[in-house]
Amino acid sequence: MVPLSYYLLLSAILFSIGAVGVLIRRNVLIMFMSIELMLNAVNLSFVAFSRFLDSLEGQVFVFLVMAVAAAEVAVGLAIIICIFRNKATVNVDEINLMKG
């Protein structure tokens, strides 16, 4: 059986890739995809813990995270469409209307 630490390490790598994506990209759609990547990395460690602790609670939490992610994507993409309609850009450096 593959040890738990391998799954946790893979989850940490995927989370870090997602964090790099949020930090270095300025296309708001790709930043949003990186956030999805981070959510999935956390889901992987939930399922791994659930398997190695003989408990199904982790899978229940993954189910809840997926529902929250679906709601988040729907609202987030609606906000992006709203911003694009007003500013005609998806570059986060140009979306600075609320900057003091």
Binding site: L10, R51, F63, A78
Partner: protein
Amino acid sequence: MELALFVIFGAVAVASAIMVIVSRNAVVSALFLILTFFCLAGLYVLLNAQFIAALQIIVYAGAIMVLFVFVVMLLRTGKEARRGYRLIFQKSMGIIFVVLFLLLLGSITLTVAVTGMRGPYTAEAVRHIGNTQAFASVLFTDYLYPFEIISVLLLAGIIGAVVLAKRKR
């Protein structure tokens, strides 16, 4: 065999995740993100979570990514500029700090042994009654209230998306 599958799925997941964040084209990013989700579904099957694997493909690779691709197609985004960040050193400092963060996480995951209270659902027990039935018996007894509240959250999400994306008259 299991280790080989883990290595294949993990390597493809990491490679396609890197492609998501380096690709210049948002549609290419979305397609590589779908590949990452499929690899994660394979890992969930390796972890005896078949129901979650099916949900991963149906909800993430299906519903959420269709929404993403649809919005990417809807907005003509054009090419992203490579230079001229508003914040200086944003790219280099971001990568440096995330690598440090990864070293921290990696040292924790490789050294700390997980000890906790074990639940009743061993691999044999789950195989005997079926993963979906075992999952449902936990979800609809101990976690019934979160399940009901999540339905309210999804309703709020639907209404919020419609109100935000509606064109003002």
